[in-house]
């Protein structure tokens, strides 16, 4: 089964740590991604630019309305994602918990969502 792992990250915490600490986090992600690829479970994955770069679009009365900012104003914001192949939800949540453990100085939540298989 394929799962999308959505990483909700506390971005405010990044301002409170040194560049070195941020660099180390990045390094842990690199290593993790490499291992995930090697095990054959990695299908895709990318980090995202911070939430302030986001634009939310709706169509109101047939007219495109783009507003600055992410869809929801919450402490934790979507910061990256993986698409993984896992045999069941247990394996998928296990991978998600490994992602959480990469973060040593801020809290993250990882949403595990099965990807719909379209017929045909």
């Amino acid at each position: 089964m394929k799962y999308m792992l959505l990483i909700y990250d506390d971005f405010a915490a990044y301002d409170k740590v040194t560049e070195q600490q941020q660099h180390e986090l990045f390094g842990r992600y690199m290593h993790f991604t490499e291992e995930l690829s090697k095990s054959g479970r990695m299908k895709a994955g990318d980090p995202l630019q911070p939430p302030f770069t986001s634009t939310t679009v709706r169509v109101v009365a047939g007219k495109k309305v783009a507003t600055d900012g992410p869809y929801a104003e919450t402490k934790e914001q979507l910061g990256g994602y993986y698409i993984v192949e896992a045999k069941d939800v247990d394996e998928a949540t296990e991978i998600a918990s490994e992602i959480c453990k990469l973060h040593t100085w801020n809290s993250v939540a990882v949403e595990v969502r099965p990807i719909m298989v379209l017929p045909g």
Partner: protein, 411 residues
């Protein structure tokens, strides 16, 4: 054949049959559908003669229905290939069959209590598939509309199908965590039965019975787990006091005033024996400690003879496993019994944040009463009264307050 015979057979065998069918069908809904159809057929066929093994009869008929349902399709072919040995035998007999049934029951139990399902969904699904409760009964037990409960069940079953929750017994390394989830669900079911949050009666014995049945089922099919035995022992020991807990008028009777001759001694003995068996495994845990506390209470011939020192030590041990406010509260009461109520009051004061919790105020009231602080006791009883909607508990608290007024002429 009277329909109650069919009902009795059905209740006894339902979860085993359903568990096997879910594995074959790979779908809760399809399994339930074919089982319902098989039951209809039983009502016709069993009129003339009851089969020698009604459970096997139902399973066989339901399996045929499953094949019919999928006739011609690719799925039928798949189903046939995967389960050829099962589908083509009409009667399941012997050792293998028993082992297979055990595995099926465990698969169903672990799937229903999978931690990725919401706790209320775990409870509902467990009661519905492994317990003998209908959707209406489960809804009534948890005081929600039947449609709400039905929707909760539908959603849980859909999540199992779509989220990749495997219908399997967890691997050895996951077993402790997954078993803990199963035991917690059973504990919550019992709790809801033991201290009904709302309504007329203090207890909902049907839920207590279901929880007891389920905890027994775990030990029957997954023997050798100390905490599972601890939980069953705990539930048995609490349940053994049921007849003494409410008086003839339906009023709550606290432990210290219970008529101990109304406790079920045989059940207490069975609970203690089970606890001893668990303790010999040397894998201590919170349920075993709680069962031990109940056992100490049960062994006292009168309330005055209760070994509070031992109970205080056991609560101290329990705090190592579970540092919850509820446990601290009970610890405070045990400390009060051994070291005096001033010491207990100190612990209770540290728990200041338990404002919305009824037993906290009840404990404060008893503490204040023991220390002769009648005004404080009355205030605390009043607060407790404002926090419970259970009629029996309300009457008990009102009585306590009335006693206070009569005794001391507060006001």
């Amino acid at each position: 054949m009277p329909s109650r015979v069919i009902e009795a057979v059905f209740l006894a065998e339902r979860s085993r049959i359903l568990a096997s069918l879910i594995r074959l069908a790979r779908s809760f809904d399809d399994a339930e559908d074919v089982l319902a159809e098989a039951l209809l057929e039983a009502q016709v066929h069993w009129q003339t003669q009851l089969p020698t093994n009604p459970g096997a009869w139902l399973l066989t008929v339901a399996k045929r229905k499953l094949l019919d349902q999928r006739r011609g399709g690719q799925r039928r072919q798949q189903l046939l290939e995967q389960n050829r040995h099962l589908l083509l035998t009409d009667e399941i007999v012997g050792e293998d069959a028993n082992e297979e049934a055990a595995d099926d029951i465990l698969r169903l139990l672990f799937t229903c209590c999978h931690p990725v399902l919401a706790p209320e969904a775990q409870i509902a699904l467990t009661l519905r598939t492994l317990g003998g409760l209908s959707t209406t009964e489960v809804a009534r037990a948890f005081l929600v509309e039947e449609s709400t409960m039905a929707q909760r069940l539908v959603r849980a079953k859909r999540k199992i199908a779509l989220a990749g929750i495997r219908y399997a017994i967890p691997a050895q390394e996951q077993l402790p965590e997954r078993l803990a989830s199963v035991l917690h669900v059973i504990y919550l079911i019992f709790n809801e039965g033991y201290a009904a949050t709302e309504g007329e009666a203090l207890e909902r014995r049907d839920l207590c019975q279901e929880a007891l049945r389920l905890s027994h089922l775990v030990n029957e099919w997954l023997p050798g787990e100390a905490e599972a035995e601890g939980l069953e022992a705990l539930l048995r020991l609490i349940h053994a006091r049921r007849d003494a807990r409410v008086d003839a008028e339906g009023r709550l009777v606290t432990l210290d005033r219970q008529e101990r001759s109304r406790w079920h001694d045989d059940e207490i003995a069975a609970g203690i024996a089970l606890l001893e068996q668990a303790l010999r495994r040397k894998q201590p845990g919170a349920y075993q400690v709680q069962a031990a506390i109940m056992a100490v209470h049960a062994e006292a011939a009168t309330a005055a003879e209760t070994d509070w020192r031992q109970i205080r030590e056991l609560y101290r041990t329990l705090l190592r496993f579970e540092r919850s406010e509820q446990v601290l509260l009970n610890y405070a009461v045990a400390v009060g019994q051994v070291e005096g109520w001033a010491a207990a009051e100190g612990i209770l004061e540290e728990l200041g944040e338990l404002e919305g919790y009824y037993p906290y105020h009840a404990a404060r009231a008893h503490c204040a009463l023991a220390l002769g602080k009648k005004v404080e006791a009355r205030v605390a009883f009043q607060k407790a009264l404002g926090l419970t909607r259970n009629r029996v508990e309300r009457e008990y608290l009102s009585q306590k307050m009335a006693d206070l007024v009569n005794d001391a002429g507060v006001e």
